[in-house]
């Protein structure tokens, strides 16, 4: 009796092996693309001197949240530089950016599909539940087999792990758009594509941005785990500190992760609710321009 067990693991293993053999070229291709993207982004971040990157980050912080946040950004990034984790931090940032951008590029269309079709929603939802509940480590194993050691398995595992909130919140945002407003689009003869573009997406933007924010944060947390499969960067340092019981190194890399996390979170959150200093400046400019135009006085003119 006790000898019997369902060989679920074996089945999946066989399946993965079969996939590796049959679709090897597909995975090689994906590997090539993802690797290229990562190398490119990493180069852009690492190649310029640190002060250029810090200045750009501070400028982004200023535009998104104001001068206090810009100062905080400079201090935070300076701290990373001070503990000599700059290159690792930039590599991590590159991993996060590439993984997030791909995850977002996949999850938003999926979310739109789920919002438009109840059937698609019913299929996608349990899959997302599954992907999100599965312990993140588990993705690393097949990813490692399919893409071999390096950044790529880490990024792919990150994408799968981080995608779910992007899909969910996109669907939620679009379904949450006032039904009457969508009906108004239909009633005036707008095409479904036009309604999506001019009504549903703009009105769902805050929710979708909240999803993007979550995708980025999940990516960051996963990228550290991905250090285990050779993704290197801060994750690699943390894994190394674990194996060497190096408390100092562990915390230094950990702080760098926290600083990146705070920066990415605050910036994307500010973009999400649309209330940014740069937005306010642009609005003020627009308002003063329209106020400058002569507008006729309000008159109760009706027929």
């Amino acid at each position: 009796m006790n000898d019997f067990r369902i060989p679920l693991g074996t089945w999946i293993e066989t399946f993965i092996e079969w996939i590796t053999v049959t679709f090897g070229f597909v995975f090689d291709f994906i590997r090539l693309i993802v690797d290229g993207a990562f190398e490119g982004v990493a180069f852009v971040l690492v190649a310029p001197p640190f002060y250029v990157i810090i200045a750009i980050a501070a400028a982004i912080g200023l535009a998104a949240r104001g001068w206090k946040f810009a100062v905080g950004t400079v201090i935070g990034l300076g701290l990373i530089l001070g503990v000599d984790q700059w290159d690792n931090a930039m590599a991590t940032l590159a991993l996060v950016l590439v993984a997030s951008i791909i995850a977002i590029a996949v999850s938003i269309p999926l979310g739109i599909l789920a919002a438009k079709s109840s059937l698609a929603s019913q299929i996608i939802r349990p899959v997302l539940d599954f992907l999100q509940t599965m312990p993140a480590f588990v993705y690393l194993v097949p990813a490692l087999i399919l893409f071999r050691v390096g950044e790529v398995p880490g990024i792919v595992a990150t994408i799968i792990f981080a995608m779910a909130p992007g899909v969910r919140l996109t669907e939620l945002g679009i379904r949450g758009v006032d039904k009457e407003v969508v009906e108004a689009g239909q009633a005036f003869g707008a095409s479904p594509w036009r309604i999506l573009r001019q009504i549903q997406l703009p009105l769902a933007t805050p929710t979708i941005m909240a999803g993007i924010n979550q995708v980025i944060m999940l990516s960051l947390s996963m990228v550290v785990i991905a250090g285990m499969v050779g993704a290197g960067a801060l994750g690699g340092e943390i894994v190394a500190s674990l194996s060497r019981l190096d408390v100092a190194l562990g915390f230094e890399a950990g702080f760098a992760v926290v600083i990146l996390a705070i920066f990415l979170d605050r910036v994307t959150a500010a973009l999400g609710n649309g209330d940014t200093p740069i937005g306010r400046v642009l609005n003020a400019r627009k308002a003063s321009r329209s106020a400058a135009q002569p507008t006729s006085a309000p008159a109760p003119a009706l027929v």
Binding site: D178, E180, V181, E183, A184, Q186, A187, F188, G189, A190, S191, R194, Q198, I199, P202, L203, S290, Q293, T295, S296, A297, P298, A299, P300, A301, L302, V303
Partner: protein, 448 residues
């Protein structure tokens, strides 16, 4: 049953030029097997018989809306009004039956053709305005034109004229959230008007507004309709609004149209107990307006007609008061029999010296409840005058009481003329004969 499931759109009256929208045996059922529900209902099952299958929201609705008409669909919440109106422009499919808009059958046409019909022929105003919150007022108003493919400069120019028309001049660059509810609905109305379709659907368009604004919007809608000649299908749960706006009213109950008629017909000749009860529960004094109960003015003379004409009118109609009009037909006041008699005896001819201004004047849309007090305070009928002070009709006290109490005023064709005569016919005739002078006769001859 075949009559219900398939009906030809080529029936002669569907393409008749006077019919803007035609609904032919419309059914809409929500549930797993809508067609089965419709079949059962068409075969005689009631709405509750098929309740286990789902909701029959609209049952066998047929009507024709004439061009330039305001057609009101009235019913309690849940009676199927919104479902019905959404089938007219194809927002929702019909389960069975056909809809024709401007001669085109819009049921079962392709999505693309349907969009074309919506762009060109039928637009809509929504209960909660449904404006695009991220666009300015002018861009909202221009939305329909944008979808029609009109260039930006041209559509903004056109939208601006509509903005002026609906009384929002100066707000073109504001965002909808900066506007009050009434103003937002003006934008909604403007958007529908700008699209320049013949037919306007309005689903509880004024229900979300507070009562004062609502009245104002109703009045403006009527003015706009008169100016632009649109066909309007207006949904409301408010009998008062229905009575005020509707040229004709369709009363809905539990998905069925139970009566279609003019406001007066609905009120005075309800088709069944339901409608009767519906209108009975209503405070008639608040629903009915001066227009709907006023009587034509019979005892009336122009100012220049002179006292003898006034006196003769009083004698013929057996009343003690006549209404006097200015040259331009505007209301000048009233004269009483004793004053006129004195004047005739004295040989004076200028009616102006004895005109009294104690008659109450009201506008046509005054609710009856507001007529009670002035009516009680005086024996004079209330004068109903329009914005230019022209006398439209009068409301004698008897008429007012009868209308509020829902009893018929007269037993026959005899008009009610108030107040009754105080001087006998013979006395007046004698005086008219005794004072007759050639000059006066000539004057009267010219008047006649």
């Amino acid at each position: 049953m075949s009559e219900i499931t398939t009906t030809s759109s080529s029936s002669p009256d569907a393409s008749s030029p006077e019919i803007a929208v035609k609904a032919h045996h419309l059914y809409k059922a929500f549930g797993r097997r809508p067609h089965e529900m419709v079949k059962k209902i068409a075969a005689g099952a009631s709405r509750s018989d098929v309740a286990h299958l789902g909701i029959a929201a609209v049952i066998d609705a047929s009507f024709e809306v004439k061009k330039g008409e305001i057609f009101v669909v009235m019913g309690l919440s849940g009676s199927g009004k919104s479902t019905l109106i959404r089938m007219l422009n194809g927002l929702w499919d019909t389960t069975s039956g056909t809809v024709t808009v401007g001669g085109t059958d819009v049921t079962g046409i392709s999505a693309k053709d349907l969009r074309d019909v919506r762009r060109k022929s039928i637009s809509m105003v929504f209960q909660h305005f449904a404006l695009l919150p991220h666009r300015t007022v002018i861009d909202n108003v221009a939305y329909g034109l944008e979808i029609q493919g009109m260039g930006r400069t041209e559509r903004l120019a056109r939208a601006q004229t509509i903005i002026d028309l609906v009384g929002l001049s100066g707000w073109a660059d504001s965002m909808p959230s900066e506007l009050s509810g009434g103003m937002q609905q003006r934008v909604g109305l403007g958007r529908a008007l700008a699209a320049d379709t013949d037919v306007l659907l309005m689903d509880e368009a004024f229900s979300a507004l507070d009562p004062l604004i609502r009245r104002e919007m109703q009045e403006q809608l009527i003015e706009l309709q008169e100016a632009l000649g649109k066909t309007i299908i207006f949904i409301t749960h408010d009998l008062n609004e229905a009575m005020f706006l509707g040229d004709r009213i369709a009363v809905m109950r539990d998905g069925r149209i139970v009566q279609i008629g003019t406001p007066e017909e609905i009120l005075t000749d309800p088709a069944n107990d339901y409608v009767a009860q519906f209108v009975q529960d209503v405070d008639r004094a608040r629903v009915l307006t001066a227009t709907s109960v006023m009587e034509p003015v019979r005892a009336v003379v122009t100012k220049t007609a002179g006292p003898r004409a006034a006196l003769r009118t009083m004698r013929d109609l057996q009343t003690s008061v006549v209404f006097v009009l200015n040259r331009d037909r505007s209301f000048a006041g009233i004269v009483r029999d004793h004053d006129v008699l004195k004047m005739v005896k004295a040989g004076d001819t200028d009616l102006r010296t004895i005109i009294r201004h104690d008659a109450t004047t009201v506008s046509p849309d005054t609710a009856l409840v507001d007529l009670v007090e002035p009516s009680v305070g005086s024996d004079l009928p209330i004068a109903v005058v329009d914005a230019r002070n022209r006398l439209l009709g009068v409301i004698p006290r008897v008429t007012l009481l009868a209308a509020i109490g829902n009893v018929t005023t007269s037993t026959g064709e005899l008009p009610v003329i108030d107040p009754p005569a105080t001087i006998s016919v013979n006395v007046i005739t004698d005086i008219l004969r005794d004072t007759e002078m050639p000059r006066d006769t000539a004057l009267e001859g010219a008047e006649a």
